[in-house]
């Protein structure tokens, strides 16, 4: 990059001089398109705030999330020292929400690491290898797709025992099939293209073709789908927590907090309301972001 050029010019150049520049320029273009979408930017901002909150929880929270103070139980919001009120054991709801963001992020991260990766593996292998492998893998996918997700997750947690890791596992087990379907469809369209034949003639093995040449092309639609699904995943995790099958008390998981507040809903509405608002905000943010990403990365079924 010559010194006279600004970074912006370098990024928007029509004639990239290196592969890296071309890649970065494409990213920059996507970012420009994305930036124009107000709703998506709001979603992104909320999620960045969530990550910030989770990272700096000990510094942000005014109280220990587990510290009980029975003298100050069920304080309404805006009470001195309890901005969002306190719960039935006198724990500060705001602090619990702040620490709870860590659990939400943990669930999001774990499911993101599990479900799409499994789906990508199964889908690309089925699509690339074809034949019997394809038939068996896709039938398996159909079976899992046919199952109602929450009920399956419930049954899994029931068998494995309650707990946050098992909730993550159960949700992932029910979440991977759509990704496998998608990855397979993409693989089928890519599989017979000329460049794949060229690579095969150069002697590349199946493993290399799948990981190096098919996966990168599946990623963008997968990212959109995962972002859009994330709201559902957060709701499912909170639902399991609410039923007492996810994170166990006294952990400040948002769904479990709603379930605790349920007993006092008529007289002390805030105990259940606040964590619900938190769940709603985060899943809305994922939906907004996913909608925006779809418009940018996957314009064929964009909504605008």
């Amino acid at each position: 990059m010559s010194s006279a050029q600004t970074l912006r010019q370098w990024l928007t150049s029509d004639v990239p001089t290196s592969r890296r520049q071309a890649k970065l320029a494409a990213l920059y273009q996507a970012w420009l398109a994305f930036r124009g979408n107000l709703m998506a930017m709001i979603g992104l901002a909320i999620l960045l705030l969530l990550v910030f909150t989770a990272t700096f929880a000990p510094w942000l929270a005014p109280h220990d999330p587990l510290a009980q103070d029975l003298a100050a139980r069920l304080q309404p919001p805006l009470t001195e020292g309890y901005f969002l009120g306190s719960d039935s054991l006198g724990r500060d709801i705001l602090s619990r929400l702040i620490y709870g963001s860590r659990i939400t992020l943990y669930i999001v991260a774990m499911v993101t690491l599990l479900a799409p990766v499994v789906g990508l593996f199964v889908g690309t292998i089925a699509g690339y290898v074809g034949g019997w492998t394809d038939a068996i893998l896709m039938r398996l996918t159909d079976i899992f797709l046919a199952f109602p997700r929450l009920v399956l997750a419930l049954a899994f947690v029931a068998a494995l025992g309650a707990g946050i890791e098992n909730a993550v596992l159960a949700i992932s087990l029910t979440a991977w099939p759509p990704y496998a379907r998608m990855a397979r469809a993409e693989t089928l369209t890519i599989r017979n293209s000329d460049y794949i034949h060229a690579i095969r003639l150069q002697g590349a093995g199946a493993m290399r073709i799948i990981t190096k040449h098919i996966w990168p092309l599946c990623i963008s639609s997968l990212v959109v789908r995962v972002t859009l699904d994330m709201a559902g995943i957060i709701l499912a995790a909170a639902g399991l927590g609410f039923l007492g099958l996810g994170a166990q008390p006294p952990s400040p998981e948002w769904g479990a907090m709603i379930s605790e507040g349920r007993k006092f809903i008529l007289d002390h509405w805030w105990v259940a309301t606040m964590p619900g608002l938190a769940i709603f905000t985060v899943s809305l943010a994922f939906n907004l972001l996913g909608d925006g990403l779809r418009d940018v990365l996957d314009p064929k079924d964009g909504s605008q």
Binding site: R139, L140, D142, I143, F144, L145, A146, F147, P148, R149, L150, V151, L152, L154, A155, F156, A158, A159, L160, A231, G232, L235, A238, G239, F242, L243, G244, L245, G255, I258, R262, I265, L266, W269, A272, T273, P275, G276, I279, F280, S283, L284, F286, N287, L288, D291, D301, S303, Q304
Partner: protein, 352 residues
Amino acid sequence: MALADTNTKGRRKSPFLQFVIKAAKTLGAIAVTMLGLLFVTFFIGRVMPVDPVLSVVGERATKEIYDAAYIKLGLDKPLIVQFFTYVIDVIQGDFGKSLRTGFPVSIDIKRVFPATLELATLGTLIGVFVGVPLGVLAAVKRGTWIDQVARVVALIGYSMPVFWIGLIALLVFYGILGWVGGPGRLDIFYEDIVPSVTGMILIDSALAGDWTIFRNAFSHIILPACLLGYYSLAYISRMTRSFMLEQLSAEYVTTARVKGLKESAVIWRHAFANIKVQLITVIALSYAGLLEGSVLTEIIFAWPGIGSYITTSLLSADMNAVMGGTVVVGLVFVCLNIFADLLYKFFDPRAK
């Protein structure tokens, strides 16, 4: 769900033979899916628990009781034999006995399923009657504030935790305003008065001509049904919008406009007529989704349906009931999916 891969290669066969082969393939695929479903529930119920006997007899059982249960569950036989025994039992409608209620699971399910069906049906009706016009309107007024409002309404629907909004709705409409009935299907003094014909109280009370009970049942069902309806509305309105947009940009719509048809005729008689099949598929899918999605709603509203049945059994480690409930919900889910698929193939000539 792609149930049958259409095989276009090979020699030409007679239409009848083709039909038979296709039907056999579809039936085969359904059978395999059902078998897989049973395998998964079997796996969950019998293989995954560390000790399935303990979950039946409890931790303080004596050695004799334990051994008897061990034999009775057939755990001394190989897994594959156990699985086939399970499949044969299920085909005969035998899901074992519920430890919590003491009744056979199949009888329990027959009792609770109509409640869920009633709720999900009303929810779907609300979703269709609000969602479809909203979606059509959003597509026609694309890019205007109406479209934006419809988009936000749907996004909120996708993002709201149902168990939370259910609680808040109960608090506001029952606790504070007193507009609707509380949790449960009926006020307690109305229970067990109308003879149970279908198990759905709205229909039963209407059949018996008892309108006091009908009104009471309606005041109880309306809130959870509206909530479920909102969820299905979110999905149905988005799908309707995108189907409509596709049609409205087609050339035949321009032709219809050019020849001077009224806008309402263009929209409803031309464009909408072409999305009906797709729409029915979407509605069937959303119906299936509601049958499942009602699990959490049922808990909040103390609705004695299959969702509450599964969860309460689950919390008391009643694996037979959980497995039975899961299989039944799964079967209904699969059937609705297949139904949607067949409908699509049957009515839409392009899918052939």
